[in-house]
Symmetry: C2
Subunit: 376 residues, 2 copies
């Protein structure tokens, strides 16, 4: 019965779709120990309601990491919830908002749902085209905020250069808008040198123009759902009230576990393991793309989860069809069109965070076959 | 230095304000073990993102408890988050909404924030005055939903009778509104017989007019922040989309821990311990009120956390002043006015869930002194 119709279904699917770590690079044992330590050290704090600012020791730890007083920090159930609160607070219907083009699909959805007047600005290999932002400002656009993923951007994997970080802050000051520095990937850099956060460049505790968000999803694990905001106390206080009225307080058991984990002995080694695995996967992906998809262009990222692949323009690529052909061959990608309001038909996002090293080459082989089939 | 200004500050404050269990009646050891078991049994499920429907095994467990298919259930970060999603989905500005009078202050806040046209209906000792609801309907009010806390209501401690549950459902059918059965206290009944849920009376899986919410805050602990909705799949699906766009998924570590805990050997005994402690505290509170505040009226509840105290009308009580005098004497209460749009100056809520048995009498003594002082 070789070549039977069931053969294809037996090939395990390789997913380049989900921006999440494979379970083998999560330190489950360490997390379990951290949970036990947290219950032992602070039973009342873990099991009681707490308040919307978050688990107090974790909030203080985050404040220390960023060199700000605690009233600049609010811990949330994952950083997307933080984004949602900030958008609810700042984005009225019709408010002008700048985002990168392409950008995270859920950010676009969230802003569209709130009636934002979206201005998508070209994302270059060194990040947002800040002179395009300056041109928008000259044309009279008055943004409430600019949403930027500065490190290893989702979906492109690009990083905003230091010069552009400075220039964006200059524009934020001269035109009084908030830079929303959405930075969940900063701590999973596996090559190159880290750049200063815009929050720091703007004076840290003295910054009035940056709201910073990050998360433990990439350094601890996604299922723990702990993210946070750092920003001017007046904005943080408004979001605290909103959070109280939404859910009383974020998850204390999860935050207590994160607190013990990030202070504990296993965290540095576990983070190294994550970075090494990501570095290995991106190296294999880079090699496989060069071999099986020589016509594709992409920039190898220095950290994070994602790589953006473009196929030559003018060849009439239809990424929806490519994705369908890929799915039929047991490989999953996210079409470029998902990250844009228009265009992206010749592009797609590959997330390598969840793909085992031994599957990378086979995944790209299948993808190359899908691209060939989609053109036929 | 006896009688020095520091004496009063040294008297520990007794708080009847917070609807939360004291830590001594939380099974911290059992929760810790459940967390370990959860990480051991399902490391990928606990640490991965999961989806907005909730942790799949817990969702199935809840569905079984309520005798409904899983697509009727959505697990959330605490039940107040569930309320918020439901209100966001159903309550447009100007929509008529019925609530009890008095009712949970955060419910009123949430509905007012969404621009609801609120109709507060008298709460009697056997629950909502359903004939007052019928009169509103006759007068042309067309509610989107009626929010009811059927068991050991917050703030009053009253329970909706079986006859009234049936009558409310009849009205919901004839006038096509949703009964939002907000039921976090159902499992902490310490005397009397349990009544069927309106969800069950309306046909369980076949119900089109009841959305049910509950929580593990009162049976497991508040800091774990796990609540849920049960309702018609079409509504649940809309809320699933909203939840995905808000936070991707609720906390998997917390839900996995709850799942192992409620299935585990310690849960029944721990729940008995909670109920026994609540029963003891309400007994002491009842006796102390009769002794120290004979002029007060109240109904001794059969479960839950709260007891509503009314002082005689026409005596010019000012509950804000009583609360201030009480605070000065080291006892904290929540004024009745917090649970109403108007009135409540002669009433307050006492939460006995967080007060140790040995403190109840002293707390009521202080309160009686405060009431006397507030009149002087």
């Amino acid at each position: 019965m070789s070549g039977s119709p069931t053969t294809r279904a037996q090939v395990p699917t390789i997913s380049f779709a989900r921006g999440a770590p494979s379970t083998d690079i999560v330190d489950v044992e360490g997390l379990k120990q951290a949970a036990v330590t947290a219950f032992d050290n602070d039973p009342a704090g873990l099991t009681g309601y707490g308040t919307a600012v978050g688990y107090v020791p974790l909030r203080s730890w985050i404040a220390e990491q960023h060199g700000v007083p605690t009233d600049h920090v609010l811990v949330t159930n994952g950083s997307m919830q933080a984004d949602a609160f900030l958008f609810d607070e700042l984005v009225r219907p019709g408010a002008a908002v700048i985002t990168e083009r392409p950008t995270y699909d859920r950010t676009l959805l969230g802003l569209k749902a709130r009636g934002a007047d979206l201005h998508l600005v070209t994302l270059e290999e060194d990040g947002l085209d800040v002179e395009e932002v300056a041109a928008l400002l000259r044309d009279g656009v008055r943004p409430t905020l600019a949403h930027v993923i500065p490190n290893f951007q989702n979906p492109a994997g690009y990083t905003l250069s230091l010069a552009k970080r400075r220039r964006l802050l200059e524009l934020a000051h001269s035109h009084d808008f908030v830079v929303f520095e959405d930075d969940p990937y900063v701590d999973v850099r596996f090559s190159g040198e880290p750049l200063p956060r815009m929050l720091e460049l703007d004076g840290g505790a003295d910054s009035a123009h940056v709201v910073y968000a990050s998360s433990f999803s990439k350094t601890v694990c996604p299922g723990i759902r702990v993210g946070y905001l750092v920003g001017p106390p007046a904005i943080i206080e408004r979001i605290r009230v909103r959070a109280t009225n939404t859910y009383i307080a974020p998850n204390m058991v999860a935050q207590g576990t994160v607190y013990e984990y990030v202070r504990g002995p296993r965290f540095p080694g576990a983070l190294e393991r994550v970075k090494n695995a990501l570095a290995e996967r991106v190296g294999l992906l880079d090699a496989a793309l060069r071999e099986h998809l020589p016509q594709a262009t992409f920039r190898r990222p220095e950290g994070g989860y994602f790589l953006w692949v473009s196929l030559p323009e003018g060849e009439g690529h239809d990424v929806a069809r490519i994705a369908a052909e890929a799915a039929a061959r047991g490989v999953v990608i996210v079409p470029g069109t998902d990250f844009l309001l228009e265009g992206g038909e010749n592009a797609f996002r590959l997330a390598y965070s969840g793909v085992q090293a031994e599957d990378v080459d086979e995944g790209v082989r299948r993808l190359a076959a899908a691209i060939a089939a989609a053109r036929g």
